[in-house]
């Protein structure tokens, strides 16, 4: 099985998922992993595809042309062998909520602080909410804490950002339980 990463972005409307997945189904592609969501007024799809025979970009031919003709942007990345396999990241899972008056640097400063401590971000979503006069920026991060890093440590490392940017930050680990 050969693997590809396909991204599709375009103005949101009903029918995008069915249009895209019909093409993939007809091609004989497996959707191994995917995440699709509305971002702003755009619908964004990211899919990891598998195909038993197709090995390169050219073999897809003009299969995606109907999508481009309907004003969707399409990008295909050919994955190296093994590029579809998620490496197991061990450690406690930690949710970090950050919110406050909108200002530049909220995402960067938090990501920088986590990156410096080798904390792996596994999911990150941001949204601008509130009114036009008082925009509020909200970010929710899921991260995996390396060994010997506790919730309180992360809390402490983020305190300078709380003060500098006047944002509220809460950190909570989610215990993993086998039931």
């Amino acid at each position: 099985m050969n693997h590809f990463a396909l991204t599709i972005v375009g103005r949101d409307r009903a029918g995008i998922v069915s249009q895209v997945t019909k093409i993939l189904f007809d091609l004989g592609c497996n959707i191994a992993d995917s995440s699709c969501s509305i971002l702003g007024g755009q619908f964004a799809m990211i899919l990891i595809l598998g195909h038993p025979e197709i090995t390169d970009r050219d073999s897809f031919g003009d299969a995606f042309k109907p999508l481009e003709d309907s004003d969707l942007s399409v990008a295909l990345r050919v994955l190296k062998p093994g590029g579809q396999i998620r490496t197991n990241i061990f450690g406690d899972i930690c949710m970090i909520s950050v919110y406050g008056s909108d200002k530049p640097g909220i995402v960067y400063r938090v990501a920088q602080a986590l990156g410096e401590k080798n904390i792996n971000i596994t999911d990150l979503n941001t949204k601008l909410v509130g009114s036009d006069e008082r925009p509020v920026y909200v970010m929710v991060i899921e991260a995996v804490l390396p060994e010997n890093v506790e919730e309180e440590d992360v809390n402490g490392w983020l305190t300078p950002i709380r003060n500098d940017l006047q944002v509220d930050i809460t950190v909570r680990t989610i215990p993993t339980v086998e039931l």
Binding site: S35, R86, N88, I89, F90, I93, T122, D123, E142, I174, P175, T176, V177, E178, L179
Partner: protein, 167 residues
């Protein structure tokens, strides 16, 4: 008395609603014993529901007293026949894994405190108030009696992970 294999999804039994137990007879006691043996054998498990060993009756065993998260707040070993949650409050998120759905964990929000009514091994009606990890464990096992898996309660697959640590 026997350790029984844990059924794995997609075994259809896991998606069926288990039957009410009419009376705690020898057969029920035998299932309770098998659940206990199976729970102990699996080592890390804090609970097993009868459908997980292929018995479609409303019986579960739960014991969080040996686990790190539950050792300070528990009722010890609970053998529950026809358990029913009669009150729920608060909410608590944990990342749950299940022996019947190996290799996958997902974030599930459940009630932080519950009041459960059940019949015990001796046929006595009991009511207990559980909270924290014990509450989550009971709710997880009771879901099995209604053919519900934690997958039915996960809100986002985006943030899933594989097995947390190799045992």
């Amino acid at each position: 008395m026997a350790v029984r294999p844990i059924l794995l999804y997609p075994d259809p039994i896991l998606k069926q609603v288990a039957a009410q137990v009419e009376s705690v007879d020898e057969l029920t006691i035998a299932v309770i014993q098998d659940l206990l043996d199976t729970m102990l054998e699996s080592g890390h498990s804090v609970g097993v529901a009868a459908p997980q060993i292929g018995e479609l009756i409303r019986v579960v065993v739960v014991d969080v007293s040996k686990s790190k998260l539950g050792k300070d707040n528990n009722h010890g070993l609970l053998e529950m026949v026809n358990p029913e949650i009669i009150e729920k409050s608060g909410s608590k998120m944990m990342r749950e894994g299940c022996m019947s759905v190996p290799d996958y964990t997902g974030n599930v929000t459940r009630a932080e405190q519950i009041v459960v009514e059940f019949t015990d091994r001796a046929g006595q009606l009991r009511v207990i108030e559980a909270s924290g990890f014990e509450s989550v464990a009971i709710q997880h096992e009771l879901d099995h009696l209604d053919g519900m898996l934690f997958l039915d309660r996960v809100s986002s697959l985006k943030t899933d992970l594989y097995r947390r640590k190799s045992k």
